[in-house]
Every structure is written in C-alpha cells, then in structure tokens.
C-alpha cells in the first residue's frame, strides 16, 4: 500500500520534473544548487563546471529514494582536461528491469581565460518499459560559468532547449529547464551557493546550499529547496586522491533519500 502510494506520487509529481537525474552527493547535499560550482558531477548539472577542473576525475554513485528499492539510480561521471578544453561523460540509470530510464551524456567544455567557461552537452535518452516497448531520444545542454568577482561565480544552464521528446507514442517528457545561480566563496573553508530553476510546465524552484570544511579533508554540507520544500545534508571525505561523499535528502511527506559516491582523481 505504501509503495503504491509512493509510486502514484512519484509518477504524478516527479516524473515530469528532472527527478530521475542525479547530481551526485556533493551537489545534492547543497540543495542541488550546483549551477555555479566546479565539480566532476557538474557534467550532470552545469557542464561548464568541468572546465575548471585541473585533473582527470572519475566518480560513481548510487542513490535510493524514500527507502524503496525499486526507486534507485546508478550514475557514473568522468572528466578530463585537455589544454583549454575539457571532455566529460556521464551515465545515469534509473528504475528496475521492468521500467528503466538511461541517460548517457557527452560534454565538451572550453575555458576562455580563467574567468569564463562554456560547455555544450549531447545526451542520449533510452526508455524501456516491459510489455510496452522502447523509445529513444537525443537532447542537448548549454552551460556557462563566469567568475564575476574574485570570490563570486555566476552560472547559467539551459537543458533541452529544442524540447526534444520520445516518439509520438509516449507521454514521457524530457524536461526543458533553465537554471541560474551564484556561488560565493567566503574562505577556503566556506562557500554558499544558490540557484533558481524554472522547468517548463512546472513551478520555479529556489535552492541554496552551504559547504563548510571542518578540517582540510572533511566537508560538511547542508541545503534546502523551496518548491517542493526539501532539506538536504551531507558530508565529504577527501583522502589524498580518493573522495567519498554522502548526502541525504528529506521530503516532508515522502521521507529520506540517501546517496553515496566514490571518486578518484588521477
């Protein structure tokens, strides 16, 4: 009964939002306000962010929603800098064998000096529902980040501007959305990030997150999103080249969604 209730919720509410896509535990713990951040998981949020990374990084993560096994996501991301460019790849799989959504993305990012990053991404979407069939689609992303003041980064991102969709026979939507936001770095220990997101045919959302480095290799994070109201928390551990990040999202009605990821910097 509980699962049915949840499924109705998920299908009614979150399916036409960008919910199945997973931003990785760092950005999630920051309330998903990642549009102005530079992180390997930016490849799934605002691709321009990977232009700010100095080394190749690979990471993989797992997310479970509301304690329901069937509502889980596996994701992997990769980025590599080549001179002024960066190339990124992302893979995201959501659902169970009877219902599965897979999104594979490739990104090309370029830095125009140290202050301006631009990126274009190409995504391949696959939807598979047992006894109904399969459907495929392509979508694109465009992202930008600008270092306006020494401590302030601004970011902007548009996803699926051409409103690509699966074939004629599915109602399943690939959301079109625009995000912009700012990331202010108060000190080496502390940053606060914000983002406004508008999804076409859905309500606008405001998100904010804070990251505080307790000591050099332990970061604590918290965030909120306003619409729908959710609270987020998480931490990150960094030991030499290995990163472990953990996040949990709390929805007032549906409950907790934990996620974890492991990253390696070459």
């Amino acid at each position: 009964m509980r699962k049915l209730y949840l499924l109705i919720w998920i299908l009614l509410f979150t399916s036409f939002l960008k919910a199945q896509d997973n931003n990785g535990p760092r950005i999630t713990a920051l309330g998903n306000a990642g549009v102005a951040l530079q992180d390997v998981w930016s490849v799934k949020n605002n691709q321009a962010g990977i232009a700010g990374l100095l080394k190749p990084i690979v990471a993989a993560g797992y997310e479970n929603r509301f304690g329901v096994k069937e509502l889980s996501t596996q994701a992997a991301v990769f980025s590599i800098p080549i001179k002024d460019y960066a190339i990124g790849a992302a893979f995201n799989s959501y659902g169970v064998s009877d219902y599965r959504e897979i999104k594979t993305g490739l990104t090309l990012a370029k830095s125009f000096g140290p202050k301006l990053f631009l990126a274009v991404g190409l995504n391949y979407h696959q939807l598979k529902i047992s006894n109904y069939g399969n459907s495929n689609a392509f979508s694109i992303d465009v992202g930008l980040q600008y270092n306006a003041f020494p401590k302030l980064w601004l970011g902007s991102h548009i996803s699926n501007p051409n409103q690509a969709r699966y074939g004629e026979n599915t109602d399943q939507i690939i959301p079109t959305h625009i995000q912009f936001g700012a990331n202010y770095i108060f000190s080496e220990q502390l940053l606060i990030t914000t983002e406004l997101e508008k999804i076409l045919d859905a309500q606008a959302d405001f998100k904010a997150g804070i990251e505080y480095k307790l000591i050099k290799f332990v970061a604590l994070r918290g965030g909120i999103s306003v619409n729908p109201f959710k609270q987020f928390a998480g931490f990150g551990l960094n030991y030499q080249r290995v990163n472990i990040d953990f996040a949990v999202a709390s929805h007032p009605v549906l409950g907790y969604s934990p996620q974890v990821a492991l990253g390696y910097e070459f």
Partner: protein, 685 residues
C-alpha cells in the same frame, strides 16, 4: 482598492503629514531589539517585562568586568558565542580597561557594541561594598508610575440596557500603578497594581478582597554566597524551556539566534501578565562551580470548573490565562483553584561547559478533566505532576552546543539539541532538532517550535546569518515541522514548513531599510462539508518593506508597506495590505518629544490580518493585528515637567470602512470607530 490607488494615497499622506507634530518617542534602541525578537508573537503578549528589564539596565548599567553569563543573557540581543567570547577575552587579557577593547573581541560588530554599551559599562559600581541602611535610602532610586486609559466610545458591556449577568461589572477605564525601588544593581523592590477595562477597582469574591491584580517582589542580588533571593512573585527560566520556563520567552523571529533560550534562572516577576508566574520564595546559592536554586510557590489561579457526573466532583475544564475578570462568570473563575509548586535546579558550570538538572512537583486543588475531543485525548489529567529536565551547553572553538531533555514522570518525554556556529567572520548558522511527544506535560513549558508549547511536535530548524559588512545583514531560516497527533482544527497527523528571509541595509546610523519575505505552508481541516474532515494545505506569504530615516536633528520618518497573500486549496486567494507613515520628533533639548502614525489597512478578513508594532507610552506595548478596511491613527507625546517628573499622553483611533459596529460580544461599539486616550505620569526620586 487597487494597489495603485493605495500608493497614491500613501503619497498623499506623506504630503499632508508635514504639519509639525511635537511629541515623544520610546527608546529606538529598545524598540529595535523588541521588534527583532517579536516577529511571530500574537498581539496580546505583554513585553513590558522586557522593556522594564532593558530600561532598568539602561539606568543601572551592567559592569562588564563583574558581570555573569546569566546577566548578559538577559540582554537577549547578545548570542551565546558573543557572551563566551567576552569572558574568554577577560580571562586571557584581564579586566577591560577601555570600552574600545570590545572591538577586538570576535563576534562583536559595531552595532552590537553600540547596543551593549547602551546597557553596560566597564566600571560601574556594584555589590554591597560599604553598604549601610543610611546609604540604602540615600542612594536608592524610587520610580512611581501611574497610567490611566480608556476607550472613548461606550462598549455594549457597559450600557445600562444589558442585564447584570451579561455586562461588565466594573468601570471602563484601565488603571495601572507601578512602583520600583532600586539600590545599585543589588536590591530591587517592585509593586504592580492593575485593573483592566470592565474590572472593579476592588474585588471581593471567593473569600478574597483586594485590587484586581497585584504583584510584588523583593529581589536581593550578590549577598555573599546568595547570588539571588526573591520574596514574592518570581519567574524561573531554565535550559531550553522544556521542563521549566515561566514568563517571557520568544519564538522564531527575525533574530535567528533568539531561538536559543538564555538560561537566566531565577528572576523577580515584574510583568502584568496575570498568568504563568510563581508566588512564594526562591533563592540561588553559589557553591563554587555549583549553583543551587530551590523554590517554593503557592498561588491561586483562574480556572473554569465543571462537575464530573461520575464522581460528582468538580474538575478543572480550562485554565484561564487572559486575566480578565469583568463579568459575573469571569469573576466566578477568578483565583478559583490553588496551585502549589516546589522544586529546585542544580547547575554545574565549568569553563565553557554548563549542565543543569531541574526537578519540581506541581499540585492543584482539583483534578484536570480529561479532554472531550479526539485531539485532546492525551491532555493532562489528574491533580499532581512531577517534572525532571536535564539541560546542557558547551562551547567548542567556534561552535556553541545546547540542548535539553525533559520528562514528565509516568508520561512522555521531550528533547531538543542544536548548535550555533560562526563559520567565518561573515557567516553564522543555527541548527536544531526537536522531538516533543504528545503526552509530555509541563505547566511551565515554553519550548521552541511552531506551537507555543513543546508538545506533539517534531522538527528541524536551519538558520543562516550573513553580515558581510556593517551595512548589510541577511537573515534566513527554514523550519520543517510535523505534528504526529491531531491538533485543534487539524483532524489528522500533519506537516508544514516555514521559510523566512530578511535583508537589512543600514548605510548610516540614522537610516535603515528592511526587506522581509516569509512563507508558511501548513495543513488544516478544509471546510468542505463532508462526513470526515480532510486536510488541505494553507499557504501564507508575507512581504514587508520598512524604511526609517532622519531628516534633521529633531525629525525622523518611517514608512512601511506590508502585504499578505493567503491561499487555501480550492478557494480564491485572499490578500491583506498595510501601509503607514510615522513621524518621530525627538529633539536633543526640548521638554517635548513624540511621534505619530497614520496607517491604512485593507485586508480580506481575519486570515490576512497584519500585525504592526506601535509606539506607546513608556512601558506600554502593543502589536495590534489589523483586519478589514480602515484607517489607524495615533499620537504619542511626552512632556518633561521638571527633573524626575514626566508626563505621557496618547490618543489613538481606528476607523473602519463600511462597518456598523466595531468589536464583538460585550466589547461591541456602535458606529465605525474606536478611539482610546491614555495618560501616564512618572515620578523619579
């Protein structure tokens, strides 16, 4: 009325109001402090105790070199990290030699220092050094204040047409007499006498005679091992207010640090709230790192009684908190039951650690009747209750941890844990989690939460304060709350959240712009008539802009615009609007000072009412809520007759559009306006 016309009207007021009124103001520093903590309080809450306290310290300044944590906490605007930082500074560098030193303490910005030095200094005399009774009467300060106020229109309860069973038996004026004697910071005597409108000057019922409300206390401080001693009326405030907290407390407000309660302990009770205080004797004795506070109280309180048909005994159906005794039935319930409370608190303080243990027993002369509805099934029954509580606070580097665990014996528990942390010189954060069970009982419970008491609630609060420089300040919080059991008008477990943000810009000492946005989403019964009530979400958004600026040495102006939007599922949105213009006249050298306000309000009823703080005569306080349509006007004037004698006058008027009557029940007035006059005289000698 469209928004545009309202704006035009506002400008019209601005032009008209240039006629120079010459009146008084309350203290702007105190007003600002109160408004920052009072954001979410209801209109009838009496803040006179806080105004009283701040005014006392303004006159008898705290000695920062000899003060205690408890005393600084009474100044509510200092957060625990700032208080600890001050003591750390003194223990490292010795006593403060110059007030400029405060600027070098972490967490002290200029605004805080300015406010602190308003109530404190570094070398004011304290203690019983060279004490003698001659000195007591020579150096002691007396303060006598008398206030008289009444509505100028007749309320229905006073008209001769009403029969005696449903009319006010007393006179329509409200009279308040306040006397204080203080010797340095060490001896205070307080006496308050009050009658409300409709009450008699002299009551004789239930075998008691006397003024309607009288309260007195004698307070002695720092007499050898006795840190505090109160004989008479007192309040007790321990931990985070779960187990034992009487008197003044604050909820969520613009000052995000005010959610953390200051562990003040014993205080004399000087307010005219006729509820939630102790009467008897209490003391705080110091044994080095331990402080012991035993107390005993016996009092009569107001209650409604009902006969239990099974036992044929009278049971308490309601405790009455209003303190109004105007009609026969209200007088019947006046001081109808007796209440005995005794217990103690043991507090251990070592450096930055503080742990307190509280235990007390309360006993009532009658049993509490079980709740009749489903939502109050878990309310307290019986006539006696034992409470215990454990509270702690600890400062580690830049973080202050606090919490309390409370238990009512043989029933539920309640606990809260949280922290305040200064993440960088610019950014501070407050987090706390709470869990209050539905069957946790305490008669002196004022734990922080969405509800006014710590019962039937779980929640998580996260707040952030950004102060990039001394001009800007941004406060932001979100609070998620869940009510695991039913509540009044909520027939199922429910949930909700609260988002608050405020930006203030202070370009110079006399100008301040404040922008505020608040959004609340809660569940309550929908009023669709079906067999069972179902819950629907109710959303309320609140927008406010406030501008205060000085135009010359004598005149300051203030404008506010506030809007409320109220959305209920399946209903049309309702809106509320309030705008006002203040003129504040406070010359440096004149016997006259004063202020005046013209406000316009236009709301779609009770749900969209808007609260606004009003200036009043000294120690007077009001945050009226405005609903329907109309105009509000008031004028305050203060005249300093001679040294030690001040006179205040206040006239206020509310005129409603398209209304035949104002108020309801016995308070109803024929016509569309209600006006009030107030006169107050103070003698200081």
């Amino acid at each position: 009325m469209s928004f545009k016309t309202k704006l035009l009207l506002l400008f019209f007021f601005l032009l008209c109001s240039k006629i120079s009124f010459a009146q008084q103001t309350d203290d702007p520093v105190i007003e600002y402090i109160i408004e920052s903590v009072a954001a979410n309080q209801t209109e009838d809450y009496d803040y006179s105790e806080l105004i009283d306290r701040l005014n006392f310290y303004k006159r008898n300044k705290i000695n920062l070199n000899k003060t205690s944590k408890e005393q600084l906490q009474e100044l509510i605007f200092l957060n625990p990290l700032q208080i600890d930082a001050l003591f750390e500074h003194i223990s490292l560098n010795g006593s403060l030699v110059n007030t400029l030193e405060l600027q070098s303490i972490s967490g002290y910005d200029l605004e805080t220092i300015k406010n602190l030095l308003y109530f404190a200094d570094i070398n004011t005399p304290t203690g019983f050094e060279n004490f003698s009774f001659n000195k007591l009467f020579k150096d002691g300060k007396n303060d006598l204040l008398i206030r008289y106020s009444r509505y100028l229109e007749q309320q229905r309860g006073f008209s001769s047409a009403s029969n005696t069973s449903s009319r006010y038996l007393g006179t329509p004026e409200r009279v308040f007499t306040r006397y204080r004697f203080s010797y340095s910071n060490n001896i205070q005597f307080s006496l308050n006498l009050e009658k409300d409108a409709g009450e008699k000057y002299w009551n004789s019922n239930n075998g008691q005679t006397g003024p309607d409300f009288s309260s007195a206390s004698l307070y002695i401080k720092d007499l050898r091992k006795i840190k505090k001693l109160v004989i008479g009326d007192y309040s007790l405030q321990f931990g985070q207010g779960l187990a034992l907290w009487s008197g003044l407390s604050f909820g969520k407000g613009a000052d995000i640090f005010s959610v953390v309660k200051p562990n003040i302990g014993l205080k004399p009770y000087t307010s005219i709230n006729e509820f939630s205080y102790f009467r008897g004797i209490a003391t705080q004795v110091n044994f080095g790192k331990l402080d012991f506070t035993p107390f005993f109280s016996y009092n009569k309180i107001d209650a409604g009684l009902a006969l239990n048909p099974l036992t044929n005994l009278e049971e308490i159906s309601t405790l009455q908190q209003s303190g109004l005794h105007r009609t026969l039935s209200e007088l019947k319930n006046r001081r109808r039951i007796s209440q005995m409370v005794f217990g103690g608190n043991l507090q251990y303080n070592y450096r930055k650690l503080s742990v307190g243990l509280t235990g007390y027993h309360s006993n009532y002369s009658q049993d509490f009747a079980p709740g009749k509805s489903l939502y109050n099934q878990f309310d307290f029954t019986g006539s006696s209750l034992n409470n215990v509580g454990l509270n702690y606070s600890y400062t580690l580097n830049n973080t202050y941890f606090f919490g309390e665990f409370a238990h009512s014996l043989n029933s539920g528990v309640a606990y809260i844990n949280g922290l305040i942390t200064s993440l960088s010189p610019i950014v501070s954060a407050v987090l706390f989690h709470r869990n209050y069970q539905k069957d946790y009982y305490s008669f002196y419970n004022q734990g922080i939460g969405e509800g006014s008491t710590a019962v039937n609630e779980k929640g998580f609060f996260a707040g952030l304060q950004l102060k990039p420089d001394r001009k800007f300040e941004l406060d932001f919080y979100t609070d998620l709350f869940k009510f695991p059991y039913l509540k009044f008008r909520v027939d199922a477990p429910s949930t909700g959240y609260d988002i608050f943000s405020q930006l203030s810009y202070t370009p110079n000492k006399t100008t301040r712009l404040t922008l505020r946005y608040q959004f609340q989403n809660k569940q309550q019964n929908d009023d669709i008539p079906t067999f069972v009530n179902t819950l629907s979400f109710v959303k309320k958004s609140n927008y406010r802009a406030d501008l205060l600026y000085q135009i010359n040495k004598s005149f300051a102006l203030r404008n506010r615009i506030e809007m409320v939007q109220y959305q209920e599922e399946n209903k049309t949105n309702r809106y509320g609007f309030l705008a006002y213009q203040d003129i504040i006249y406070s010359p440096l050298s004149s016997r006259w000072s004063g202020n005046t306000r013209l406000a316009l309000f236009d709301t779609d009823g009770f749900d969209t009412r808007i609260y606004a703080y009003e200036n009043d005569v000294l120690y007077g306080f009001s945050i009226p809520g405005f609903q329907n349509k109309g105009i509000r006007y008031y004028l305050n004037a203060r005249y300093n007759l001679k040294r030690g004698i001040d006179i205040w006058l206040r006239y206020s008027l509310t005129q409603y559009n398209n209304q035949q009557t104002v108020g309801s029940g016995l308070d109803e007035i024929d016509g569309n306006l209600r006006s009030e006059a107030k006169l107050q005289v103070r003698f200081q000698f």
